[in-house]
Symmetry: C2
Subunit: 403 residues, 2 copies
């Protein structure tokens, strides 16, 4: 039985990009698609009902965080995540495997699973390949991820091989734990930036047979070139009739490059995390609202954008909200950024449907990678003066963890 | 010339409550009405476009805070507060007089005005009776407040008299500064809890002639009985054809009691400030979402409420958002609370229009003052255990200043 059935049109010449359809029963997800991150059953500062109009139909939620609060059993009792958060689209849950990486010293891996200490509450919890599946079923997820052992993308060959082989053993246990349940299950390809390991990992997981395949362990320390090379290498090993998901990626340019290399699904906290730092993405470059130059700008973030923020609010007002540390800034900037990400995916799908993706790719990659039109480099002295007046929050630690 | 013309129907027997209409040209405000507080040109965590559907048509903004950030001149350059924040209703601005009280040591009063030090930035600013009017005109306010000298409601007679007399001298200067400008101007009655001073203050200001009269210096330390007595005493001295505004008040019961004593306008941060502490107001009492008992409650905050929060989200989800410290909790709880406040005012106006206010007053004051049905007292031991698991944020300092 194939859960979450998927089919994709053949890629046009000159690219591995493909237009696909993922069927979750209650929701059909056109791919390529971007999943907003709703770690704690909420996309940071966004109302659930604003996500569909932005173009989202599949959200990522996090098993580790939800198991801690409010508890997978509580969510189950309340009818699952979709009902709990009032979301009528699809849900894909990460297994908690990324926390093995992101929690650092607070995560201890052994052969049977992971012991995690919550960074705030200090509460210990245990995840095994089977318990991660049980929790994701309790959450009512449409697609579960196997528990994996994620290491730095720059890990040496031996470390990467050990983690990869453990990921494979756990993947088998996850499949057994899923058994006849109707939840979709994706395997996760590991192997850091070692080409041979990536190919072994992809082939091994394909041999086990999953409903889809994720490329894990990227966007965690490697260069963009390494990321793109490993993505292409893994995608080439994966079957055409299963969705491919590049975990934790990425910037608008990363999405475009990922699609070009055959990726169908993405997730990233950037749209909402950057909103909390006052950064908006537009067709004319990034707008850093901490900059005083926007104080009196009465035009929208992006004149070409039809989102509910751009049709109503000026850069000057949004900058004011950000500088005044008003939470409405996070809501409005996050909503605009999500529109930007999701609109890029919509345009990519449209180009694939019309056979114009190679042209779109050639054009968009140039401007997405261009020096920032909105933010020309500021001479060092002026930058220092500004830094005193309004601290550069973007240089601090993440406001929102990447998990 | 009367700015912001106002007229009210005679009060029915047994109450001083009255149904009125305040004409701001672009907006007509039916009274009694509650003004949500938008200190920094935003009602905490609420989109501007959600306020009208909640029943708001007049917002309070703060001259002191806006003069600091983004600056009254900046707002003027951007077309005034209404255009700046995308609000098509009315704006009443506080003069900064309340900061004389709330900033404590950071405010220094002399005969010509106030020198204020911003509690966060440390920046000094100066307000005089005339500059406060100039700033409010620059902000594009519909109704300005005179700069007043607000002292504790418990101030002794001599202190209260000095501040009151200064307030009267400043009121004259404010009238002169307003001159022929079209902005409405309200005087502020002071006198702490001294009946003779309150009467002197009301009569003096009425003699000067304002477009409306505020009762200041209450909700700052006095008992509810004192507040109600002073409100009634002042209202009896004020002309029937000018709106009366009870500043900074209050709870739902305070609003009802204020209306009964002849007050037309109110403002208070409680709906949004309590949202940030996880408290929702309902027809069955206050819901303290930090309490574990709501973890699995799948019903809305208030089954009788038609607000966008109650039609979509459960108490369990809202509690989860609050416990997970997600800013969406502030948005959703604040929106519900604002609906609750504004719906009470709508029902009050409806009762006044139908001649049933005395019955509504008799009924509502009982349940608004009743012991909390939703939150029966918790035995001390259990309360302690809960306090460890989830700190009682309501017992800490204000999340939002009352200004």
């Amino acid at each position: 039985m194939q859960r979450a059935p998927f089919s994709a049109l053949p890629s046009p010449a000159g690219t591995d990009a493909r237009l696909g359809l993922l069927d979750l029963g209650h929701t059909r997800v056109e791919t390529p698609q971007f999943m907003p991150v709703g770690t704690a059953a909420t996309v940071r500062a966004q109302r659930t009902e604003s996500l569909r109009p932005a173009g989202a139909n599949l959200l990522l939620a996090n098993t580790f965080h939800l198991a801690q609060q409010p508890g997978a059993d509580v969510v189950a009792q309340l009818g699952g995540l979709r009902r709990f958060m009032g979301w009528d689209g699809g849900i894909l849950t990460d297994s908690g495997g990324f926390q093995v990486f992101s929690l650092g010293e607070n995560a201890r891996v052994d052969e049977d699973g992971v012991t995690l200490k919550h960074p705030v509450t200090g509460r210990q919890s245990r995840l095994t390949p089977a318990s991660a599946i049980a929790a994701q079923r309790a959450l009512g997820s449409d697609i579960a991820m196997v528990l994996d052992h994620c290491v730095e993308a720059t890990a040496d060959w031996g470390t990467a091989r050990d983690a990869m082989e453990r990921t494979h053993r756990w993947a088998e246990l996850a499949l057994a734990a899923r058994a006849d349940a109707s939840i979709g299950l994706f395997g996760i390809v590991q192997g850091a930036c070692h080409a041979d390991l990536r190919e072994v990992s992809a082939n091994t997981l394909v041999g086990l047979g999953f409903d889809g395949y994720a490329i894990g362990g990227l966007a965690v320390g490697e260069t963009r070139e390494e990321r793109e090379a490993q993505t292409a290498r893994v995608a080439a090993c994966l079957p055409v009739d299963r969705p491919r998901y590049l975990m934790g990626v990425g910037t608008p340019l990363d999405l475009l490059e990922g699609v070009h290399r055959g990726v169908d699904l993405f997730d990233c906290i950037l749209p909402t995390a950057m909103a909390q730092r006052g950064r908006a993405y537009t067709r004319t470059g990034r707008v850093e609202l901490r900059r005083g130059v926007y104080s009196t700008v009465d035009s929208p973030l992006d004149a070409a954008c039809a989102c509910p923020v751009c049709v109503r609010y000026s850069r000057a007002y949004l900058r004011h909200l950000f500088v005044a540390r008003e939470p409405l800034a996070w809501t409005l900037l996050g909503q605009h950024n999500l529109h930007f990400w999701l609109d890029l995916m919509r345009r990519i799908r449209e180009a694939l449907a019309c056979g114009t993706f190679p042209a779109l790719y050639a054009k968009e990659r140039t401007w997405l990678d261009a020096p920032d039109l909105e933010n020309p480099p500021v001479p060092p002295r002026r930058r220092n003066r500004k830094a005193k007046a309004a601290p550069d929050r973007a240089s601090g630690a993440d406001d929102e963890e990447q998990d």
